[in-house]
């Protein structure tokens, strides 16, 4: 299987761990990710609030470039995923927008014929590669690791995509296969505050605190997320949240591909786990224990 890969700006700066682990996991599962050549910023949520056609045009440039590859386009960042699929949807529905964006793309000798499917790696892992295939490749079962699956707001909304919009289960099913225990986590879709962390910090911290609190209350050992911005808000601001709300969180926040990678027997080094601020204590245990187990099986 082959896919075009659109990393997006944040995966090339603060979130290398997501980038590395995503590539490593897909390689392990015999899936080829071809990085989109000369991709540009999708505009993120912020450009939509400044200019409409500009934001659609720069997102459409990526889609136009991706069309030449003839594969589905994988966007791991939730924001990129929403913006690219939203652009696709907008261009399909409205003729006027489509005409104007077409005009803009012509300036750079590009053309987009609406044939690209935008996919999230979670969707591809579970629905294309399949849980059975993944199960057969598990090297280190997660041994009842208590996981809070945090989907974030943008991968299943606003339009119905690959999962339910109120109670998505894709990630829960994935980690169940890997041997983890999914804790009850009612905040799995609640917004973490997103970009408000820079413009309206008080509110964003309140929201992030609620998510962390819910995970702690339900005895989760770590939160697993699909979005770089959520990871940033929940992890990097944990110190500040502790200070402001007088709490004592030390919750590791991992990208879901990192944990999948561990289960598939990849080295934590290659998954960028060392770059996370809070480390999971039991990770080493899982590693060590499984090594002996692997030998036993062989």
């Amino acid at each position: 299987m082959k896919y075009t890969y659109y990393p997006g700006c944040s995966l090339h700066s603060a979130h290398r761990g997501y980038d590395d682990s995503c590539k490593a996991v897909f390689e392990k599962l015999d899936c080829e990710l071809i990085e989109l050549d000369d991709w540009n910023c999708c505009g993120a949520t912020i450009y939509m609030s400044i200019k409409e056609i500009t934001s659609l045009a720069i997102a459409a440039r990526n889609l136009a470039l991706a069309e030449k590859y003839k594969y589905d386009l994988i966007a791991p960042c939730s924001s990129c995923f929403t913006i690219l699929s939203k652009t696709n949807r907008f261009l399909m529905q409205k003729s006027r927008l489509n005409d104007e964006v077409r005009l803009c793309l012509k300036e750079a000798n590009l053309e987009y014929n609406l044939s690209v499917r935008v996919r999230h790696p979670l969707d591809v892992l579970v629905n294309d590669i399949g849980l059975e295939t993944i199960k057969n490749k598990v090297k280190r079962p997660l041994r009842g690791l208590k996981i809070a699956n945090y989907y974030g707001c943008q991968i299943v909304r606003p339009e119905r995509g690959f999962d339910d919009r109120e109670n998505p289960m894709t990630m829960d099913n994935l980690f169940e296969i890997l041997g983890a225990e999914n804790v009850y986590f009612p905040k799995k879709l609640q917004c973490c505050g997103g970009m408000l962390m820079t413009t309206y910090e008080e509110v964003a911290m309140e929201l992030s605190k609620e998510i962390l609190e819910s995970a702690v209350e339900n005895d989760a050992e770590l939160i697993v997320t699909t979005c770089p911005l959520c990871q940033m808000n929940l992890e990097a601001y944990q110190n500040k949240i502790n200070r402001v709300f007088k709490t004592n969180f030390k919750m590791p926040i991992y990208y879901f591909t990192q944990v999948v990678g561990v289960a598939l027997g990849l080295e934590p080094k290659n998954l960028g786990i060392g770059k996370n601020f809070y480390q999971l204590q039991r990770l080493k245990e899982i590693e060590m224990m499984s090594k002996t187990e692997i030998i036993e099986i062989q």
Binding site: C9, C41, I46
Partner: protein, 218 residues
């Protein structure tokens, strides 16, 4: 909330009509944007909103105020800049109103009409973002943050220093901004699109009274 000025039913001030033209222009481009007329004021949007506790006008009231002909209050409120675009309201709306997209349209209207909230330096973030993208074609997060923090206040920016250092220690800061290869083509796309995006110039003319208030729902 404060209603700016008491007006005769159906009659709008010049300023309000101008806001309205800009806003309707922006809503017009949203697929399904016209459904704003179908609002039944049930409040599902406000109930679903994770940040409505921090808003001065709730999402439901936004639509009510638009109908009542008071867009100016909305544009001046905290509400539109408090929205984190999580799409919870849009998913749940029983009348399938594109609430989040409408809030985006309101943000763009505020930008076009140059109504910036004093409390939120969003226009500064916007400036640094657009500059960054135009220069490199990609976003360089450290540059964006540094530029933005310097604009909002040097003293405030010291609070971010420990976080920056921690990020640097963990190897999560990319110092070098990467530029895309076809930056010239990219800039041409941006320029062409910005021309199409220009705020509409209009002469002051009395606004069509029929589309305000109760009748707008039909």
């Amino acid at each position: 909330m404060k209603i700016v000025e008491i007006k005769l039913p159906g009659k709008l001030t010049k300023k309000e009509s101008e806001h309205r033209v800009t806003f309707l222009e922006h809503v017009g481009v949203i697929p399904g944007g016209e459904k704003i007329k179908a609002c039944i004021q049930c409040g599902t949007c406000t109930g679903s909103c994770p940040v409505s506790f921090a808003m001065d006008i709730s999402p439901r009231e936004v639509i009510a105020l638009f109908r009542a002909g008071d867009i100016e209050s909305i544009l001046k409120s905290k509400t539109i800049w408090t929205c984190a675009s999580c799409y919870a309201c849009q998913t749940r709306c029983p009348a399938s109103i594109k609430v989040t997209d409408i809030i985006y349209a309101l943000k763009r209207t505020a930008m076009d009409r140059k109504i910036y909230s004093r409390k939120f330096p969003v226009h500064l973030l916007k400036d640094s973002f657009v500059k960054n993208i135009y220069r490199f074609g990609r976003l360089n997060e450290p540059r964006l943050m540094v530029y933005y923090l310097l604009k909002t206040g040097i003293i405030k920016s010291f609070a971010y220093l420990p976080l920056g250092i921690k990020m640097a220690i963990n190897g999560r800061i990319e110092y070098k901004a990467s530029k895309i290869k076809d930056i010239i083509g990219f800039r041409q796309i941006m320029k062409a699109a910005e021309k199409l995006d220009m705020p509409i110039e209009f002469e002051a003319k009395p606004y069509i009274v029929e589309t305000v208030g109760y009748k707008a729902a039909h």
